[in-house]
Amino acid sequence: MRMTPDVDASARRTKTVSAGDIAMSCRVRLARNLSDERFPDWATECDRERVFAKVRAALETEKTGATLEPVASFDAQHLEMLREAHLISKDLLEHAAGGGIARLEKSQVCMMVNEEDHLRIQGFSFGLDMQTAWQRADQLDTLLERQLNYAWSPRFGYLTACPSNVGTGLRASAMVHLLGLRLLGELEAVVRGLERMRLLVRGIGGEGSEAAGQIYQISNMDALGVSEETIVQRVARISGEVVRQEHNARVRLVQEMPLVLMDCLARSLSVLQNARLLSTVEALEFLSAMRLGAALGFFTRLKVFDIDKLILLMQPGHMQQGMKTSLMSEERDEVRAGFLSRKLAHVKLKG
């Protein structure tokens, strides 16, 4: 006889999912260029070094507290860790000559120099607190503007290397975990709706990446013809609506498909506790399910924050840093499986 799950018991033990369990973090990025310099893609090494020097001097003069370091001064592992934490992009690493990174850790701001544009100022914040992320980026931008001659025109605003960023040069993005909508088969409709509202939906790694672990970035398509505040408020408001839809999807999953949900969680825990080899993408898929289970309160001694930490620590750069050695791909898979197995050994599915 097939066991019918106790729906009421599932619903009773389900903890209230907070917005922060679904909206992981947010970022506001400002693209800026210097008026009398070629854009990085077309610049010579000498041009890029000159831009680097101008920006470094501006940061020092304004006493921002940030020091601009050349990309070349970081070791490969450290750069990989910064990329895994979404503080720098793959593009910056490809443009190593004249490339720079400036961090204001206290104020959660990270700036890339000589990426696609001369400056990429990024402000970060938790959940959907996009206003704070915007204020952080804007503050540094305003200080730098006093020292640097930005490329700007009254018609097109801030001039950028790619016309898709021209205008405010602002991209506001929210990172959201949408596994509930995926399991209910409703994610495609939500994504289509967002695209109709001229919002971009991309995978965790940004442009051109797959949505591994059902973690998506929602960001604005239009950067011209609207004010910065309007963009930020709009992305936050619509992302908030997506979070509400994901929340409803999770409630329905618990109420209407408890067997499917529990099976998904049990399998994920079992694989993560017992696998001997796990690739990053594979591990992310299972951790994504664990994250959903933790948000719903289905696991003992496991919080969403613990999973978010594991998602970061199990990535190649962080793992190798932890091991203090560089590993081949297969070695990494073995180490990753062992690491996750140890970290989750104490976790049990409730009920």
Partner: protein
């Protein structure tokens, strides 16, 4: 990037078009590519097309299309000139989807107007204004207008422009342009 013929959908392929003896490479969508390839195939004569009076439906449509394409072609030829500041040509920036320098926005303005309108559904900035950049831009505009006025021997206008430049302050470059 958007199709360079219809500006509606993403470009997926490349077609080559000879305009006034010059071969141009256009990034276009599948539909426009098909339309172009059909245009390259000569139409078989229709039963009522006697080829003498030349007044038949197909040649007439062909003439309209040719005229339309000539207009586009002329505009393309004009954009083929390189940016005077960084030297990047229209073809080069299209290949890499990246402009060469801020002055490219002026140099390729015709192309960019359509592309920017497609991308953002707007063509006018309404956001943050950096005071320093705004002043520099105003100064440059006044200097350009002053140069034009001097070249055109419109001295009264030039004096007004020089005074306006003087009010902006901070730069002596206007003084040499107009000897009292």
């Amino acid at each position: 990037m958007k199709c360079e013929m219809c500006h509606q959908v993403e470009a997926e392929t490349v077609v080559h078009k000879t305009i006034e003896g010059e071969i141009l490479e256009l990034f276009v969508c599948q539909e426009c590519a098909r339309r172009e390839s059909r245009r390259d195939v000569p139409h078989p004569p229709l039963p009522h097309d006697n080829g003498e009076d030349g007044v038949s439906a197909v040649p007439l449509m062909g003439m309209i299309l040719d005229a339309a394409f000539e207009i586009v072609g002329k505009s393309i030829n004009r954009e083929e000139t390189a940016c005077p500041v960084c030297g990047i040509s229209r073809g080069e920036y299209r290949k890499r989807s990246r402009l060469g320098c801020p002055a490219c926005y002026e140099a390729f303005s015709k192309d960019l107007e359509a592309a920017i309108s497609d991308l953002h559904r707007a063509t006018q900035h309404t956001g943050k204004t950096p005071e320093k950049a705004k002043a520099a831009w105003q100064r440059q505009q006044l200097l350009n207008a002053l140069d034009d006025a001097v070249k055109g021997q419109r001295y009264e206008e030039a004096i007004i422009l020089r005074d306006q430049l003087g009010k902006l302050g901070g730069d002596e470059s206007a003084k040499g342009r107009l000897a009292p």
